[in-house]
């Protein structure tokens, strides 16, 4: 086999059939991985989503659309917007998290890439350092920082600038803050990979050809950082859509996201089929946003002047 691979590597493969066979062979690990960890669980989820909850949390394998009807709001007591609001809220939090991460991450990636080589490594280590600490512990740290007894709030209270009950935790702002801090490294690192090897002569060329700031960015920078930009969009948007630890801990009971709904159904409520339906919606949402993002990316890449 090794001999065969070598032949292809040196461009000596004689038949198309040989190449195809080698290609198939090489894609086995990737396909196996995707099959075992993506396709199978998704299929299981899809099947489970159309089953029913049986007595005492068991699963009744009778096909029905009940879970779907329930998810879109038709319950025992008429229509309610609860679940759709959860979905909308999740999308909102994810969108805002992504926007903030890119908004902070892009200047940061440019700034780091502009440092001397040694400081760059230190700064990158600092960016990724928080990820070394368990997410739950980090989130508890935010609880302390944002809670009513945190030093900054005490100081403000002592100065009489805020009321006695003022606190950021628990609440939507705390959740948003926690999500951004959690996702930021995933936005910065792919962006940095692009900014670090940016060819600045294209920027100079655009300037030289009379382009203003916006046009210079559009043609001198954007096409070069686009792969990094799409990667960091995906790396931020998709996990934030399914986020549940941060919203659970920092939101109190006030901020319910779709991740929390799934967790609740599989956990406390022991309603696996409905949890699966919510999970299925989450997977579909992620796939749709992935598709939209990558189409948007390729449209810009092949753009016109």
């Amino acid at each position: 086999m090794a001999g065969k691979l070598l032949e292809i590597h040196e461009g000596k493969a004689t038949t198309r059939g040989k190449m195809v066979r080698a290609g198939l062979f090489l894609s086995v690990p990737a396909l196996g991985w995707l099959g075992a960890f993506l396709a199978l669980p998704c299929a299981a989820l899809a099947v489970l989503a159309f089953a029913r909850r049986g007595a005492y949390g068991s699963v009744d394998w009778a096909f029905s659309f009940d879970n779907f009807r329930r998810f879109v709001g038709f319950g025992l007591f008429g229509w309610s917007s609860d679940n759709l609001l959860i979905l909308l809220r999740s999308a909102g939090f994810a969108a805002l998290t992504t926007a903030l991460c890119l908004g902070i991450g892009l200047p940061m990636a440019f700034w780091i890439a502009d440092r001397p080589k040694r400081s760059r490594l230190v700064l990158l280590a600092l960016v990724s350092a928080p990820s070394c600490i368990n997410l739950v512990i980090r989130t508890y740290a935010w609880m302390l920082l944002l809670g009513s007894q945190s030093p900054p709030l005490r100081l403000l209270r002592a100065l009489g600038m805020v009321g006695p009950d003022a606190s950021l935790y628990p609440g939507a702002l705390a959740v948003q803050l926690g999500m951004v801090s959690c996702m930021l490294p995933f936005a910065v690192l792919p962006l940095y990979a692009s900014t670090e090897r940016l060819n600045w002569s294209l920027v100079e060329a655009a300037r030289d050809l009379y382009a203003g700031s916006l046009r210079t960015f559009r043609h001198g920078i954007l096409p070069q950082i686009l792969p990094g930009l799409v990667a960091s969009l995906v790396m931020t948007a998709v996990p934030s859509l399914g986020m549940f630890v941060v919203s659970d801990l920092l939101g109190g009971a006030r901020v319910m996201l779709i991740g929390n709904l799934v967790q609740q159904q599989f956990g406390m409520a022991s309603d696996w089929p409905f949890g699966a339906m919510a999970g299925l919606v989450l997977v579909l949402g992620s796939l749709i946003s992935l598709a939209v993002l990558s189409r948007w990316g390729s449209r810009i890449a092949g753009g016109q002047a």
């Binding site: 060819n199 002569s201 294209l202 300037r207 009379y210 382009a211 043609h219 016109q304 002047a305």
Partner: protein, 351 residues
């Protein structure tokens, strides 16, 4: 997009100075370049030639000095307002745009109509002979074709001055030779001032009306290609352009100077008491008998046949002189010869 400033006429640079940290890169460069001239800044890497070009383009700022185009103060403008365009060393062609769109880029930054853009880009693609490549993407082009795109993209804007930063350094020797001719033709047809930066002396001699030899942030010599080659004023210029035999000499206020090769007569009075003479290998004549003036006896050493000439190494005194002779002049190794150094070709360097 702001307006590109109007300006025309001669480029006048006055006392341009630049340092990066501790390192002085330009020491007060002053020069005038007439409208429509093809000028080359020639020098080794690190001599400041690229920095000079980048200051004119607006990518670096000068610490001191001015650059005027007619009455326009060039250095006061941001790069995208200067009536100056650049051909970059690595071409810096936009990889996401077609050849046509690359060439149209500067016009689209302005307020040109679609009709005008099409017409002018078309003309420019024709001038640079790449009209067939209009729809191609840069990845599908060869080095020489990219070079033409870069040239067309800059020229289409009809700049007052075109700056070329080592435009041929990425091309192979053969292609470079062809493109030098092309560059000359295009410059004549466009009638624009070209300022080219290169470390390649052949390129400089081939294309330019005028050569500025630069060394360590200063202009060593300024003149036509012929003058700079035939009459180098300094050791640096003599050695950087082509090859020169350098001969140490002592002078005593006469036209006759003392050297290791014996007394030699020179055409101009040296300003030093101890300095250097230079003579080009092709200016030395090989004779079988002692000439009337400036004859030096020598022994032929290594010989290289170069096709259109012989290159000889002749041992004279304590020195090996390089001599170039016609291919039909045959000399054996170890042969005793007389070398004649014509008075007019024996140059007195200033240092």
């Amino acid at each position: 997009m702001g307006q590109v400033a109007e300006g025309s006429g001669d480029l006048q640079v006055e006392g341009l100075t630049k340092s990066f940290g501790e390192q002085d890169v330009l020491h007060g460069i002053s020069l005038d370049i007439a409208d429509g001239q093809f000028v080359t800044l020639l020098g080794p890497s690190g001599c400041g030639k690229t920095t000079f070009l980048r200051i004119l383009a607006g990518f670096e700022t000068a610490d001191k000095g001015t650059a005027r185009l007619g009455t326009l103060d060039l250095l006061a403008l941001p790069p995208h307002r200067r009536p100056v365009n650049t051909v970059f060393q690595n071409y810096a062609i936009f990889p996401h745009l077609s050849v046509f769109e690359n060439v149209a880029f500067g016009l689209r930054s302005g307020k040109s109509s679609e009709d005008e853009i099409c017409r002018r880009v078309g003309e420019m693609l024709e001038l640079t002979k790449i009209e067939d490549l209009s729809a191609r993407h840069p990845q599908e082009l060869s080095g020489g074709q990219r070079q033409r795109v870069a040239l067309a993209r800059a020229l289409v804007n009809e700049p007052e001055v075109l700056l070329l930063d080592e435009p041929m350094s990425a091309l192979d020797a053969h292609l470079r030779h062809d493109l030098q001719m092309e560059l000359r033709r295009i410059q004549h047809e466009a009638g624009i001032t070209f300022i080219l930066v290169t470390h390649d002396q052949d390129e400089a001699i081939a294309v330019s009306d005028r050569i500025l030899v630069m060394n360590e942030g200063r202009i060593e010599q300024d003149g036509t290609a012929e003058t700079v080659y035939e009459r180098p004023v300094s050791r640096f210029v003599a050695q950087f352009l082509g090859r020169a035999n350098l001969i140490s000499a002592r002078a005593e206020g006469t036209l006759e100077v003392a050297t290791d090769l014996g007394a030699l007569r020179v055409g101009q009075l040296p300003a030093w008491s101890s300095g250097t003479l230079a003579i080009r290998p092709e200016d030395i004549e090989v004779r079988s008998e002692a000439p009337a003036v400036n004859g030096v006896p020598g022994v032929v050493g290594e010989r290289l046949f170069r096709g259109d000439h012989w290159e000889l190494s002749v041992q004279a005194g304590s020195q090996d002189l390089r001599v170039i002779v016609e291919p039909d002049q045959y000399h054996k190794e170890g042969q005793q010869v007389w070398l004649e150094m014509p008075v007019d070709d024996l140059l007195v360097l200033r240092d």
